[in-house]
């Protein structure tokens, strides 16, 4: 069980990507596959981000240690899906035209915010190794607090796209608020 945990979660985390890949070849992504891929990868990036942030509350509340062993991997999957999301955007929406990419970034606030979220995740992914963790010491924890603003920006990125129905954004927002709220309360308690 212990040995299987990580490979099993790894395989499960790849499923959405495998599903998209399969759909791309088998033509199962509908008439607008570009959009399907962008929406799906965006949502999975956000879901993994939420899962990553659920790890330490789960550990504290339950006392189990095993969730901690998954945290790095879940975080890296959040970044992985965010990268596929960004690459899809470049490929399908802007055709890798740098001018257009910059224009989108500058003119469309929801994209600016999504890009900022990605930029905040980048150093976290780079410093996710054990070696980096040791090298950075205390600063590693400080640096990795960037995940909180990244989550907030991702939620704003989602909410800003809403055409008329806030339902989905609200659900993600509530989860994000719970996870961030928990830390705030826990932090206050430990300082008292």
């Amino acid at each position: 069980m212990n040995k299987l945990l990580k490979p099993a979660v790894f395989a499960a985390s790849l499923m959405p990507f495998a599903w998209l890949l399969y759909g791309a070849f088998a033509g199962g992504l509908g008439p607008d596959p570009a959009k399907t891929v962008i929406l799906q990868t965006g949502e999975w990036a956000l879901r993994f981000l939420l899962l990553t942030l659920a790890v330490s509350p789960l550990r504290r509340i339950s006392g189990w240690y095993w969730p901690m062993r998954l945290r790095r991997m879940l975080g890296l999957f959040a970044f992985f899906y965010a990268c596929v999301h960004l690459a899809s955007f470049c490929q399908f929406y802007t055709g890798w035209d740098a001018g257009r990419l910059l224009e989108e970034l500058a003119e469309r606030p929801y994209i600016t915010v999504g890009a900022l979220a990605w930029v905040l995740l980048l150093p976290l992914a780079i410093t996710s190794t054990h070696a980096m963790q040791r090298r950075l010491g205390r600063n590693w924890r400080r640096l990795h607090r960037l995940v909180y603003p990244a989550l907030l920006l991702a939620c704003v990125h989602l909410a800003w796209q809403v055409r008329s129905d806030y339902g989905e954004a609200l659900v993600y927002g509530v989860f994000a608020a719970l996870l961030l709220g928990y830390r705030w309360f826990a932090g206050r308690r430990s300082r008292q």
Partner: protein, 328 residues
Amino acid sequence: MPGRFKVPGIPSSEITPESVYLRRRQFIQAAGAIAAPGVLGLSAGASAAYVPGETALEYAPAAKGPLGYYTDEALTPRRDAASYNNFYEFGTGKTDPAAYAHEMTVDPWSIEVDGEVAKPGKLHLEDILSRYPLEERIYRLRCVEAWSMVIPWVGFPLSALLAEFQPTSKARYVAFRTLYRKGEMRGTRSFTSSLDWPYREGLRLDEAMHPLTLLAVGNYGKTLPNQHGAPLRLVVPWKYGYKSIKSIVRITLTEKQPATSWNMSQPREYGFYSNVNPNVDHPRWSQKHERRLPGSLFKPNRIETLMFNGYEEQVASLYAGMDLKKHY
């Protein structure tokens, strides 16, 4: 609510000119022959044989030439067009309408025409299907979300219907309403939606009278499937898709510019005119390009968006002297 949509008590032969009535018989026969042999003998009217998305229609082929009624661009396959729709009454996902629009009852159906007209009145489903000679129009459809399709509609010019009800000299705009029946439209039951139902759209009278402005009863040679706005919808090919209101139950001629749903929800993003215009961006989306559907990941089909969706020659004169950046 469904009580409002009654079949007429008077036999339709008494209120319909004979020539029109005869054409309707042709439709019934054509429809009956295809839908089910059993309905042929029914006298209840055309609606007895009406199956959305299934009943074959009789119509004249799209006229080629400078009018814009035809394009030789590749048609979007019927299956794609019927599986990727925006019809928020049934949910905001692109596949929701195909999944849930069948819950809407479209037979019986009636449309009320009122406001600034000399002869206000009602049209019933059978009148809609048989009163006007049908023709095909192959139009580009450009959604404000930057995707597009090419769809062969079957219908008749809105001007033919309006002329019949005789707009008064005060009439300057035309307002449209979609059916609003909560029990059959799950999207309207969402509490987190900012759209106000029923869905409303509008045109200036000269836009409404333009020969390109079509009332469609079908596409791909058959009656409209519910997700495309059965039994009757508007198609205004030079405007963003949401102007082409679906499943119409009311047409009101007005003196003042009518309120429209998206404009009420987000006035800065959706103007009354909503002409396709690559030079005026939506605040959250660029309008310079579009994805012509179906796309594939290997060939995303990204093309440049044309002024007035390529109908500039036909419609630009409607907006002569107007600042289209201001009147978006």
